[in-house]
Structures are given as C-alpha cells and as structure tokens.
C-alpha cells in the first residue's frame, strides 16, 4: 500500500502519538520506503516453518510464590511526575 499522511496519523493514534503535519508527510514517504523494502520478505519460502519468536524458546521459568519487599513506596514514587505521597496522580479519566 501507499501511505498517505492520513494513514500515518491513524497509526500514530494507535501508538498514542500526535504528530504535526510536516512530520506526518515526512514519515509517510519514509514508511513507504521502509515497508516497500520489507516486502522482499514475501519472496522467502516459509511454508511449514514454525515462527521463532525468541532464541530461548522455553522461557517459562517458575519460582516460589513468596512475598518480597524490594522497595519502599517513597522510592517508587520518587520518579513520578505527580503523586500525593501515596498514589500516582493522573489527570481525570472521563
């Protein structure tokens, strides 16, 4: 497909981004180049090939389900843009 700036804006929305018009236009051209190049993959014969999603294919390591305290609340809240000392504070949701 040929990407238009509108298409890029739709993807941006899915990714929780909002871009100015000039960037939408620039990205549209670059996306066409990049995804056009990726179409080469269509030539690879992958019939019957299992996808490989990770070099470690059995990574479901289990551990004991025990309670641990690694951090104090204050340490975790220290990097937050806004807190009330107990919770993360965000703008209203609805």
């Amino acid at each position: 497909m040929q990407f238009t700036p509108d298409d890029v804006a739709k993807i941006a929305k899915l990714a929780r981004l909002s871009l100015p018009d000039e960037k939408l236009a620039a990205f549209a051209g670059q996306f066409n180049d990049i995804l056009g190049y990726m179409e080469e993959l269509g030539q690879a014969d992958t019939a019957g090939v299992e996808p490989l999603y990770s070099p470690v294919e059995n990574a479901s390591a289990l551990r004991e389900d025990v309670v641990r305290k690694d951090f104090d609340r204050a340490e975790i809240l220290a990097n937050a843009p806004r807190t009330d000392g107990t919770f993360f504070i965000v703008p209203k949701i609805v």
Partner: protein
C-alpha cells in the same frame, strides 16, 4: 608512567592488586582524560566524579581484595543500564530525570567485582540507531575523526574506550550496537549469547534481541569484564542457568589457530563491501591462516532477508516495550493536557525523538490486525531460517568471520535524512541477534585510504564466548595495533 589511562584494563588490574597504584589514582586519571577529551567527543551523558572518587577512596582504605577481580577499575556504562541513584536517560528526553531505585544485575555484579563507575555513556535514543546521532542530548563524535560518527547505538561507550576515558565499558547489542561501534572506533566489542548476561535492569528495546556486553581496548580486557557480568539471574527468565567458562584460562590455553576452521560466508564478502574494508578484513584472515587456521567457504543464504526481518521484529518489540512510557510512574509528563489520554499522547509526542517515534509506529503497524501475518509472523518464520543457516554453517566450521560493517565510519549527518539507508548498513550484524548467537568484533587494521578503523567479526555457536575470545586473542597478537586515535592528536 606518565598516564595511567594508557594501561590496558588487565594491566591496571594487576597494578592495583599489587598496590603499585591506587583506585583513586585510576579514577583521577580517567577524570583528567575525560576533562581533556570530552568537549570534542560528547561520549558521555554523566560523569559522577564525586561518587567515583568517594568509592575509590573507600576501596583504597580497605585495600586490594583478591576476591574482587575488577578492584578499583574505572568503567563507563551505557546509559540504558539502570544505576541506582544515578540518572539513567536512555539518551531520551522522556527519561531525562529518571533516577533508578535499583541497580541492573550487571551493575550489581560489577560493583561486587570492585569496579568503579566513572561515566554513563551516550547512545542513540533507546538504543535505536547506528550512529549515536539519535541521542536527544548530543551526537557523539569518533575519536579517529571528529567529523565522523562513532557508530551506534553504543557509540558513547566505544568512543569513551577508544579515547581512554575509561578502561572498559558496557554496551548493549540489539542488532550490532556493540560490534559496529567497536569497529568504527577501533576497539574490541563482544555480544554474548542471548541469555548469557542478564537483561534485568537494562531498559528494553527488542527483548528477544537485546544483550549486554563489554567494549574494551583488548580482547583480554573484554574477557575480564564478561567474566564479571555473565551468569544466571532468576530475575531474567531468558537468562541461562549454566556454568560460566573461565575466559582468561581459555585465552591462555591457546597458542595458535592450528586446526581452526574459519567459515567465510559469501554473503558477507562480496558485493557492496567497501574495498578498504575488504582489504583490511582479508588481511586479518591471512594472519589467521599464518597461525594455522583454515578458511572454508560457508553459506548464509537468508542474509538477504536479514534487514527486513530484523527491523520488523525489533520495531514490533519496541512498540510494545515503549508503551510503558506514559508520563504516569516515571519520565516526562506534559502538564498542559487536561485528560488522561491527552496526557499520554502529549507526553509521548514531546518526549520521544523522531527515530523512536518512527520505530514505535512501524512496530504498531506490523503488529496490527490484518498485517500481523504478513509482517510479524512472516519475519518470525524467516528468523528461524536465518538461525538454521548458522546451525548448518557451524557443521562445517568452528567460527564464522566477516566484516562488521560494509563501510568505515561515515560523516555526521550523511545518512540521517534517509532512515532506510542507515538500516541497510546493519546488514552484517543483525542476523546474529536474530539467531541469539555470540559475536566479537576486533580491530582488523586501518583503512588504507581513510585511515579509519576497520573491524572483523567472529561469530560462534551458542555459548562459545570462550572460543571467540581465545581466537580473537591470537589474532590480536598477530595483527599490528591501531595506535592512538588520530582525531584526538
């Protein structure tokens, strides 16, 4: 000696252990060198001088500890690796003020080994890039020619090591981000087998590809750092629960390359290779032959799909991993937005740079309904074929060798307008990450025309770091050294 920083890491370690110099002197030597070179390089994002001096004084007060193999050794850490109470930015505005409340596994291991962190190293934002020009703070410059890039994304780590700002560094390698900057800056870089080094506390980019590894000025120095950071970590479910080899012993056990079969993949030695890169790398292969190695032709036929496969996988994983940056728990928040979703959008749009936004969006696209099978699943299938190529090749050779990059370091700004052209430069490094295998890049020589460093890569089977280090050490001693970086003269 006039300048401690001229010593290799292993030599410094011995001097420190013998009490012939102090941790404070080693740290001060690095800080002096940083002061002298950093204005021309922008290799570093933070220099915690007071903390480093205090740590060195504490070490000196206690005296050398034979149980701490990096006792008093100053190192630089790529700024994607979390350091407790020390800002970790990932080269991004969105994490400009992020101070981790914990140390990454590798940092914990380095501290236990007695190492001192003298700097956090510059990088492409979230490790996305091949030139360190995508740093939100400043592009790093190559110590061999400050008009040129140091490679990326661990360009700050490589430049710092080459410029002797630190005795070694940690980088991360998702698609070549340790090996390619090592090549461009003339140092040694090792990407371990996926799972050899814990990723706990390394800010994730492509989780199935990322691996932390050392950059240093010699093969032995890399071995010393890897020895300290390798090992099982229950906090990383992909971390390998298997013994760590004695890398120094592996290096010492080899006196030549007799019997070693070096696979030369046609796909890495043909079309598109800069002539001076080819000449330097062929020179290194000739040196290996003199040491008794036998070159054998091998094929990695799916190499032609590697760039497309890699970028689909990496961008998909990036879009998922970077969803966590939402301005709630850490990082930059846009305070003008009145509603939650608007706050997410504004924070991410202002906090992330162009390349990060590009990769998040392309990753979002290839994972979206209707395109998943054509892109992401297809790439994962080709990924298995790429890995199979390596397994097949290793049936007829012990290691594989090829250039780390088709060209030497390019000029700043020359590829930034065309992202695809920059991606294509990764052709020789990315397959290894898709396969999860280890690779080492060492200096092959200087380009005959450019005078810039050229790196040769060695690939090995899973968990063959000991083999790669021992082979590389032989080559290193047979090849003429590169000398001092010319851009700092």
């Amino acid at each position: 000696m006039s300048d401690l920083t001229s010593l290799t890491l292993t030599r410094l370690r011995d001097e420190l252990a013998a009490g012939r110099t102090t941790a404070a002197q080693a740290v001060d030597a690095c800080l002096d060198r940083i002061a002298a070179t950093e204005p021309r390089l922008s290799a570093l994002l933070a220099v915690p001088a007071d903390e480093a001096r205090a740590q060195a004084q504490a070490l000196d007060a206690a005296g050398p500890d034979p149980k701490q193999p990096l006792w008093g050794v100053p190192l630089a850490i790529k700024d994607v690796i979390c350091t407790k109470n020390l800002r970790t930015t990932c080269g991004s505005r969105i994490l400009e003020n992020f101070v981790p409340p914990y140390d990454a596994f590798v940092i914990k291991k380095l501290r236990e080994a007695g190492a001192v962190i003298v700097a956090k190293a510059n990088m492409d934002e979230f490790a996305m890039g091949s030139s360190t020009e995508n740093s939100a703070f400043a592009p790093t410059r190559n110590p061999w020619d400050t008009e040129r890039v140091p490679g990326g994304s661990s360009g700050g780590s490589a430049a710092a090591v080459a410029a002797r700002q630190a005795f070694g560094a940690l980088g991360t390698d998702t698609g070549g981000s340790i090996r390619q900057p090592a090549s461009f800056c003339g140092c040694v870089g090792l990407k371990p087998t996926y799972g050899r080094v814990s990723r706990f506390g390394c800010v994730a980019y492509g989780s199935s590809l990322d691996q932390i590894g050392p950059l240093a000025r010699t093969v032995g120095d890399c071995a010393a750092i890897l020895q300290a950071i390798a090992g099982h970590d229950p906090a990383d479910s992909t971390s390998a629960d298997r013994p760590v080899s004695d890398y120094q012993a592996a290096i010492q056990s080899r006196t030549d390359l007799g019997g070693l079969r070096i696979g030369l993949p046609a796909e890495y030695w043909g079309e598109g290779l800069d002539p001076e890169v080819e000449a330097a790398c062929r020179g290194a292969i000739a040196a290996a032959e003199k040491l008794g190695a036998t070159p054998v032709p091998v094929a990695l036929p799916h190499t032609r799909y590697a760039v497309a496969t890699y970028y689909i996988v990496a961008m998909a994983e990036a879009s998922s991993n970077l969803a966590r940056f939402d301005g709630v728990r850490y990082g930059f928040r846009d305070t003008e937005a009145q509603e939650l979703i608007d706050m997410y959008v504004a924070s991410r749009s202002k906090g992330f740079g162009d390349e990060v936004q590009r990769r998040i969006m392309l990753g979002t696209y290839v994972l979206s309904a209707g395109y998943y099978d054509a892109y992401f699943r297809k790439a994962a299938q080709v990924r298995r074929l790429i890995r199979q190529d390596f397994l097949t090749a290793f049936a007829s050779c012990d290691v594989i060798a090829g250039p780390a990059s088709p060209v030497p370091a390019w000029k700043l700004g020359s590829l930034t307008a065309d992202p695809l052209q920059m991606y294509l430069m990764d052709i020789f490094t990315i397959s290894l990450n898709l396969a999860g295998l280890p690779g080492l890049c060492l200096p092959a020589g200087l380009g005959r025309d450019s005078g810039l460093p050229v790196g040769l890569q060695l690939f090995g089977p899973a968990f063959s770091e000991d083999l790669l280090l021992s082979v590389a050490a032989q080559l290193e001693s047979a090849l003429p050294g590169l000398g001092e970086p010319r851009g700092l003269a």
